[in-house]
């Protein structure tokens, strides 16, 4: 009897023109969004290839140790086609003494005058539209039958009420799950064909958990639609309830959180963390401006023979090349030691302070999940980012990894010694060193023009410094495993499943006392 009813329910849905239109619409939207995202992803891949090329070229042309400025370039995540997540640029420039707090891009195709507000993704499609579609399919599932009299008829048969409501729920759920699963798996297969060489285990893990999550989402909304249809006598009334509920879950709750609750919870802490960050950056700036001892101040050594800027500008340390007098080398060496001992720790502290801003935001996001455990849209948004691997936490991990690479490099320089000696900013071979400035002036009887001519002559003929590139660790994209995924999503999934069970119990209880006349 139950199987018959279930088949009947699904066949009914298949025959309904309303459902038919809904499915067409969903498929159309899915295809549109998928194509947009694939085109976008392809662009990102092209840029990534170009970025890697630029980085490799730069690393192949380094002339001294200060030129070792590798980049951590994040490969575009294939699963971002489904969930764009926390949007960032994908390149971090790793420089010896520069704070790593944000990402940048090398080779972006960017419209200077048009900053699109949103890039649609499948997650938005699911949370915003699929939820609405499920409610539009199921809002009259019980009271619709009551209106035409079939519910009363069914209740005269030896059929338990629980079985009836279960088959209603299963009918909608199986149907929508199929409607989602079909294009979803087709899209996954098409990606496997198009991007066969970019597939990683991450993609398959993400794809599976995302599908699993969406199935739970569909289950929740199927239950919700049925619950709403038991809340009013007429389908028209439940339609209004459905739209109202959808608006509250989809629009009012997230917006109230973003603009009213979240700022009141986190603004003060973010402000405090930002202040701490500014305190450290100000101290760091002082360390290379006001607190710089004279014997380490590069501005106090002869400038004319520097092939680039003096190395310090208002906003930090600049790249430079070095060749000149002994005094210049010695001053440079002391400057490097000063940076390592006084500036570098402050930079690292400023990074820690900046991370606190991220941490406050991450905590607020997690808190939203707990407060609105009954809202599948909030939970879906949060979980889908964790599943795709492009959440704010992943961004922080990316920054941390880049900092580790930089720290390794700095420590390598300190251990091998090149961080503090002439090799760091070397321009010509050491044998072309000019010697002491005083000696040089004495040699030409204090005639600066003659010194200048001599220096120019050497500069034209001197051989360039040839360095041996040290072996240093390069950026590798992290891969998460199944064992890593489960702790990431466990808490939210438990909340989600809990809210589904709760809703099912409420429907069960409500339908037992439902007036079927």
């Amino acid at each position: 009897m139950f199987t018959k009813l279930l088949n009947h329910e699904i066949l009914n849905l298949l025959k309904s023109r309303r459902v038919y239109l809904t499915v067409i619409m969903f498929l159309l939207l899915f295809t549109t969004v998928f194509v947009v995202r694939v085109l976008d992803y392809q662009k990102q891949v092209n840029q990534y290839i170009e970025d890697v090329k630029v980085n490799d070229e730069a690393m192949a042309n380094i002339e001294n140790y200060s030129h070792i400025t590798p980049r951590a370039i994040q490969e575009p995540i294939l699963f971002s086609i489904y969930n764009e997540g926390y949007r960032i640029q994908r390149v971090i420039n790793i420089k010896f003494y520069e704070a790593i707090i944000e990402t940048t891009s090398i080779n972006a195709e960017r419209n200077m005058l048009f900053f699109p507000d949103t890039e649609l993704d499948i997650t938005f499609l699911i949370t915003f539209f699929l939820s609405l579609f499920i409610l539009l399919i199921s809002y009259d599932s019980v009271n619709g039958e009551k209106q035409v009299g079939t519910l009363r008829l069914l209740m005269t048969y030896p059929l338990k009420r629980q079985s009836f409501i279960l088959k209603k729920m299963l009918g909608v759920f199986i149907f929508v799950a199929f409607v989602f699963t079909m294009p979803y798996f087709l899209s996954i297969i098409s990606l496997m064909v198009i991007y066969a060489n970019l597939l990683t285990i991450n993609f398959f893990i993400s794809a599976f958990f995302y599908w699993f999550l969406t199935i739970f989402f569909i289950l929740f909304f199927s239950l919700l639609g049925i619950f709403l249809s038991t809340c009013s006598k007429s389908p028209n009334q439940s339609l209004v309830y459905a739209i109202l509920t959808w608006m509250v879950l989809c629009i009012i709750i997230p917006i109230s959180w973003d603009y009213i609750i979240s700022p009141s919870l986190s603004n003060e802490r973010i402000h405090q963390a930002t202040q701490n960050y500014h305190t450290y950056t100000t101290q760091a700036k002082r360390a290379i401006e006001h607190d710089l001892p004279d014997d380490a101040n590069l501005r106090l050594v002869p400038m004319g023979i520097w092939t680039s800027s003096a190395g310090i500008e208002n906003d930090g340390i600049h790249e430079m090349s070095l060749w000149g007098y002994d005094e210049t080398y010695e001053q440079s060496s002391r400057f490097q030691s000063h940076l390592y001992e006084n500036y570098y720790p402050l930079i690292r502290a400023s990074e820690q302070a900046y991370d606190d801003v991220y941490r406050v935001r991450i905590n607020t996001e997690n808190m939203m999940n707990r407060v609105f455990f009954f809202n599948p849209i909030v939970i879906f948004h949060n979980l889908s980012m964790k599943i795709a691997g492009n959440s704010r936490v992943d961004h922080l991990v990316f920054l941390h990894t880049a900092r580790e690479l930089r720290d390794d490099l700095v420590n390598l320089g300190a251990t091998e010694g090149w961080l503090f000696d002439y090799r760091f900013y070397a321009h010509f071979k050491e044998e072309y060193n000019l010697g002491s400035r005083e000696e040089m002036l004495a040699r030409f009887d204090g005639d600066r023009e003659l010194v200048w001519e001599y220096v120019n002559d050497i500069e034209e003929n001197a051989e360039m410094y040839e360095m041996e590139v040290p072996v240093f660790r390069k950026y590798e994209q992290p891969h998460f495993t199944l064992a890593m995924m489960i702790p990431r999503i466990f808490e939210s999934m438990v909340l989600f499943v809990g809210s589904i069970v709760g809703l099912w119990v409420v429907i069960w209880w409500r339908f037992l006392g439902y007036d079927v006349r």
Binding site: M25, V33, V36, T118, L239, I243
Partner: protein
């Protein structure tokens, strides 16, 4: 008799649960939009204030305003001051901040509030432009089918009411309802926003009222659409059609416009544009180098001005490539706009840009203002520099770096005096068009939606005349 039908329609609709719930939703959304926009406004104001403070610090520090230093870096800022318009829309699709150097127009475009981008923001545009159309569709998709089902349509026909009259009364009732559910909560939202931000302004009050008025033809379009749909046989299927039409205009058209325009009018990558810039610079440098040799290559010969002229020419050539980049972006942007203009929602936002002096409409005037400011500042600097006897009067970007070469001779390439008009470097008042021209622009934007209304009226009337009302 007409009055009786109208009153009947209005009373019925007022009693309708759909109407009551939508009204409550709109009240909640309008209030939330005022609160969220007030938060956004305060954040934007803080960012604006930071920019202003930075400018004031530069003016006060005694170095940045030295004219020789002003020749490098993007010192001129032309910004759109945050205004209550944020209650209507964040207008973050287009830049509202231009930083530019004094020598040439090589702007850097930026936006206030870029750190907080969401899929959608709760503001009047979301409510009036996107949701209210949906609500009017949902309210009106049963306009005829309900009467037909209840048999009242047949009854009215027996009483001798003309079909057209029935249709028009339905329409007028819905439009009155629209005003009832929109105007009071909108006014509450506006007053709440003004109270929270302390930005009370009669000018903006009128502007917001004008926006409410302009939203009427857009709502009317959806009412006619809903009415037309309500004439189909299965009205429950119609709701899906309704949602589809809404989604088509809200999502599919703007998103497709974005993709199609990017394919039809692609941009170069940043590396390619940088390469163009570099090539243009080097080619010009080569030409000057070939002609003047060491007078250009060396940094010792500054007095004759040839080196300065050469560098100025190089910078000018490079700046022209920046204009190509802007033109490419502008062409793509226009294409996106033209394609997305099919959607009435997009048209509505474009009209608001004209009313509030924001978005792409403002951007053009902002760029013009920046170019005018550059000319004005340049003339004033050259005039002030001509009074400085220590200056060689060499107006070029490398002047500051070259001054060390001349330091021992007591001369400088360009004056080190403080610029006498630092207030010109921060522009937040941007002049746009007069009211008449704006009105014409708005009318032109409104024309398509008015024509669509007319078409729907004709189709609805013809269809209703032929409708089997049994």
């Amino acid at each position: 008799m007409n009055q009786i039908i109208l009153m009947k329609d209005i009373r019925l609709m007022l009693k309708d649960l759909k109407f009551q719930i939508f009204f409550l939703i709109l009240v909640a959304l309008f209030i939330l939009s005022a609160i969220s926009s007030a938060v956004t406004y305060q954040n934007l104001s803080e960012e604006f204030q930071t920019d202003l403070n930075r400018h004031n610090e530069r003016v006060a520090d005694g170095e940045s305003m030295q004219m020789i230093r002003m020749l490098q870096g993007n010192l001129l800022q032309v910004v759109s001051r945050p205004s209550p318009a944020v209650l209507f829309s964040s207008y973050q699709t287009y830049p509202d901040k231009i930083s530019v150097g004094i020598l040439f127009y090589t702007p850097y475009f930026d936006n206030y509030g870029t750190s907080t981008r969401e899929v959608f923001r709760l503001n009047w545009y979301f409510i009036l432009g996107i949701l209210s159309g949906f609500f009017m569709l949902i309210l009106s998709f049963e306009a005829i089918s309900h009467e037909k089902r209840a048999g009242t349509l047949r009854l009215m026909s027996v009483y001798g009411f003309k079909r057209q009259m029935i249709l028009w009364h339905k329409y007028i009732s819905y439009m009155l309802l629209y005003l009832i559910i929109i105007v009071p909560p909108a006014l509450v939202s506006l007053l709440l926003f003004f109270a929270m931000t302390g930005t009370w302004s009669m000018v903006f009050m009128w502007k917001f009222l004008l926006i409410l008025l302009i939203s009427v033809p857009f709502a009317s379009f959806f009412v006619w659409l809903g009415t037309l749909i309500s004439m189909v046989k299965n009205y429950r299927n119609a709701i899906v059609m309704v949602v589809f039409i809404w989604l088509f205009f809200v999502i599919i058209v703007p998103q497709s416009a974005n993709i199609i325009a990017k394919q039809l009018s692609p941009l170069k990558t940043s590396i390619e544009y940088n390469e163009m810039w570099r090539q243009a610079y080097l080619e010009e440098y080569q030409i000057w180098g070939d002609e003047y040799g060491m007078q250009v290559h060396s940094n010792g010969a500054l007095h004759d001005g040839i080196r300065a002229r050469a560098f100025h020419a190089c910078d000018e050539k490079a700046a022209l490539t920046k204009l190509i980049e802007i033109d490419d972006s502008d062409r793509q942007t226009r294409m996106i706009q033209n394609i997305s203009a099919i959607s009435p929602f997009v048209q509505f936002e474009k009209i608001s840009e004209v009313i509030f002096d924001k978005g792409y409409y403002l951007l053009n005037f902002q760029q013009e203002t920046a170019k005018r400011s550059i000319n004005q500042i340049t003339n004033l600097m050259i005039e002030q520099d001509s009074r400085d006897e220590t200056s060689l009067h060499l107006f070029y970007g490398h002047a500051n770096s070259d001054r060390y070469v001349l330091s021992e001779l007591g001369q400088i390439p360009f004056s080190e005096q403080l610029f006498e008009h630092p207030e010109l470097l921060f522009v937040s008042e941007i002049e746009t068009e007069d009211s008449w021209t704006k009105a014409m622009r708005i009318l032109l934007r409104l024309l398509p939606i008015l024509i669509l209304n007319l078409v729907l009226i004709v189709v609805s009337v013809v269809r209703f005349e032929k409708l089997d009302i049994r």
